[in-house]
C-alpha cells in the first residue's frame, strides 16, 4: 500500500501548528482548564452540588453588589477620560507642537516605572500627612482625607490615567501617522473645516485603533485593583472597594465558592463589554 504524502499546504499547516503547540498547551493548561474547573466549582459547596445556591448567595450580597457597581463606575469614569486626554495629547504631538519630543518622553515615562514606585509616589502625595495636605495647610485650607473618603475614587482614577496614558498616546499617534495626507488635502480642497476633517477623515480612519484601545482600556480598568490594593490594602474606602477585592478577600478566607462565582461574574462583565464594543463597530461598518 502506498503511503499518502502530505501536500505542501498540509505540511505548512502542520509546521505552523507545531510552532503554536506550546502556546496552545500553555493556554489550555493555565487558562482554559482552570476556567472550566472554576466554573464547575461555582456549583459546588465542598463536594456537594448546590446548583445555583452560590450564585444566589453572592449576587444577593450587598458588598458584592457595591463592588460590582464601583468597578463599573470606575470604568465609566476612567476609560472615557483616558481616551479623551490621550487622544488630545496625541493630536497635539502629531501636529508638531514645541518640544514634542520632550513631552512624548514625559507622557511615556510613567509606563516604564514600576507599579510600586508609582504607588509610593501617590502615597506621599495623598496620605493624611502627605504633600497635598501640607500644601492645603500652608494655604489655610482644611485637610482632606484623600484615601479615606470619597476622594479615594478620584485619586485612583488619576493614578490609572497617569500610569496608562502614555500607552494610549503611543497607539493614537501610530493611528494618526497611518492616515495619509491625501485625505486631508482632498478635504481642504472641498473646503472642510477642522471639525469636518476630524469627523469625516480622522475618526473614521482611526476607528479600528480606537476599538482596540477601548477594549484594552476596559481590561486595564479591571486591573486597577492592583493599585488600589497596594495603596489601601484589603479593605480600602468603600468607594474603591472593587470586585477583585471581594474575590481576593474570599480567597484568603478559603471561601472557594464565592471566589469562583466572583470570577465568573467578572468574566461575564468583560465579555459583555467587549461584545458591546464589537457590536457597535459591526453596526458602524454596515453589518459587514
Amino acid at each position: 500500500m502506498k503511503k499518502k504524502k502530505l501536500t505542501l499546504r498540509q505540511k505548512e499547516s502542520l509546521t505552523g501548528f507545531l510552532f503554536a503547540l506550546p502556546a496552545i498547551v500553555g493556554t489550555v493548561l493555565f487558562f482554559l482548564l482552570p476556567f472550566v474547573l472554576n466554573f464547575a466549582k461555582s456549583f459546588l459547596k465542598g463536594r456537594r452540588f448546590v446548583f445555583l445556591d452560590n450564585y444566589i448567595d453572592v449576587l444577593g450580597n450587598e458588598v458584592f453588589a457595591m463592588s460590582a457597581w464601583n468597578t463599573l463606575r470606575f470604568l465609566l469614569a476612567a476609560v472615557p477620560l483616558i481616551l479623551l486626554l490621550s487622544f488630545g495629547a496625541a493630536l497635539l504631538l502629531h501636529r508638531g507642537m514645541r518640544a514634542s519630543a520632550f513631552f512624548r518622553t514625559v507622557f511615556v515615562f510613567p509606563m516604564v516605572l514600576p507599579v510600586c514606585s508609582v504607588i509610593l509616589f501617590f502615597d506621599i502625595l495623598f496620605a493624611d500627612a502627605g504633600a497635598m495636605n501640607g500644601l492645603f495647610t500652608a494655604l489655610g485650607l482644611p485637610v482632606v482625607q484623600w484615601l479615606d473618603s470619597g476622594w479615594a475614587f478620584w485619586v485612583l482614577v488619576l493614578l490609572y490615567i497617569w500610569k496608562n496614558i502614555g500607552y494610549d498616546i503611543v497607539l493614537f499617534l501610530a493611528a494618526l501617522n497611518s492616515i495619509t495626507k491625501v485625505f486631508y488635502e482632498a478635504a481642504d480642497i472641498e473646503g472642510a473645516s477642522g471639525w469636518d476633517k476630524m469627523r469625516y477623515v480622522t475618526l473614521p480612519m482611526i476607528r479600528p485603533h480606537l476599538v482596540f484601545l477601548v477594549v484594552i482600556s476596559v481590561v486595564n480598568g479591571f486591573k486597577a485593583f492592583r493599585e488600589a490594593y497596594i495603596l489601601c490594602g484589603d479593605y480600602p474606602h468603600e468607594s474603591i472597594y472593587m470586585l477583585q477585592h471581594y474575590i481576593n478577600n474570599n480567597f484568603q478566607n478559603l471561601n472557594y465558592q464565592k471566589l469562583a462565582v466572583g470570577t465568573i461574574v467578572i468574566f461575564l462583565m468583560i465579555l459583555a463589554m467587549v461584545l458591546l464594543i464589537f457590536l457597535g463597530k459591526w453596526r458602524k461598518e454596515g453589518g459587514k
Binding site: K45, Y241, Q252, N253, Q257
Partner: protein, 448 residues
Amino acid sequence: MNARKKVVLMLVCVSLLLSLCAGCGGEPEVLEVWCSDGTQEFTHRAEFLEQQFNSSFDIDVTVFGQYYGEEGDAELTLELQNRLMAGDGPDLVLFQASDFRDVRKLAESGCFMDLSKFAEKRLNADDYVEGILQDGWYGSECWYIPLGFAVQSYVTVGDVLTENGWQEPKDFDEFLAQIDAYGENPNGYRYFLRPLAYGGQDGLFPSLFSASGVMLLDYETDTVLPDEDGLRRFLESYRIIRQQTETVTEEEIARLNESQWVGEHYTRRDYCYSVMDYPLFHALNLESISVEQDRRFGVIPAFDGETAGQVTVYAAISADSQNPEDALALLERMLGKTMQQAILTDFSIAFMLPVRKDCAARWLEGWNEDMEGSYWPDSSGELHPSQPLEEALCESYEMQAESAVAVYNSPVAVEMLWESMASYFEGTADYDTCLEELRGKLTLYAKE
C-alpha cells in the same frame, strides 16, 4: 479469531485482573493528624500523640508537622490552606486561632465537617468550660471543638494594692482606673506595657483588648461594633496609659529588656500590674515573686465583670476525611481527662488552659511538687527558696478561668482597629473620625 490471538487476549485480561486485585489489597490505613505548631517541641509532641493513640486504634495515626526554625510556620500554614482548598485536607486538624485570617469565616468555606451531633452527645457543661465550647458553634452548626484557651492574667503584689487602698479589680473599668492612677505615681516606675513592638502594635495592646471582652463583630447578626461604649472606654483609657508609658526612661527600657518579664521588679514594688498574654503558669514570673511578699495573681476581668477567654487551639475534622469515625474517636480521646491534663505539661501547642474542667488542679499539684527544694536568683544574684503556690490563690484563679466566655476577634479585625486608631493614639485625629473609618472597614469585612 485465531488461537494465537485468543491466547494473547486471555493473558492481557488476566494481567489486568491481577493488577486490579493488587490495587484492592490496599495500603494500610493512616489517620492523619495535622498539628500546625511548627516549633522545636513538635517532634516530642508528635511522638507523644502517636504513642498515645496507636495502641488504641487499629489504624496507624500519623502526626504531621515540621519545625521551620526562626522563620516560623507560615509555610506549614500555607500548605494546610492549600490542602483544604484542594479537598485534600488531613483527617483531624489542630490549628491555632492565628493560623487563619478568620476562623469564623472559614466555617463558611465548607472545608470542615459539622460536629454538632458529636458536640451535643459528648460534651456537657458539667465537664467542660461551656463558655469556651460555644466558640466552635456558628448558628446551629458546630465546626470546631476548642481544645484549649487563654485568659489574660495579671500578677501583682498585695502591698501595692493595700498602699493605694485598692481591692483586686472587679471589672475592667476598675482595672484601667487603678493602672491609670498608678501611672501617675511619681515615685514608681511605669508599669506593664512592654516597650517591645508586637506585630506593629504596642506590646500588650492585643492582650489588653482581649481582656476587655469587647467584640468588634457579632458574627451571628453581622453587626459591626456591637459594644461601642465599651470600645470607647477601652480606647480612651488605653490612650492615656500609652501616653504615660511614652515617658519611660532609657534606663527602664534597658532593665525591662534585660529581665524580659517584669517579675523581678516586684521585689521593689515598682510596678502595679504585670499583664501576661498567656496563662499564669510560667515559671519565671512565679519564681520571681516567691519571696516573702503577698503575691496576687488573677484573671483580668472584662467590662461586664466576667472573664473573656480566647480559644488558642481548635480541633476540626476535614470534610474530605476518609476516616471520619476514627477521627471523631481520636478527638474524643483528646477531650478526655488524660489528654487534657497533658495539654498543660507534655503537649502544649501554645500556652493554654484545657477546656476540660478540673484538669488545671492536677497541674498545680505537680508544679508545687517541683517547686519544693528549688531556689531562684533575684536581680542582685541572691538566691531565694521557691514557695509553693497557695491553694486559695490557685482555686480562685481556676474558678475565674473556668467561668470564661469565649470572645473572638479575628487578627484582621484587631489589625483594622489598631490602624484606624493609630492617629487617635498619636493625637493627630479625633476619636469619632477614626471610629467612622474603622466602622467602614469592619462593615465591608463583616458583610462580604
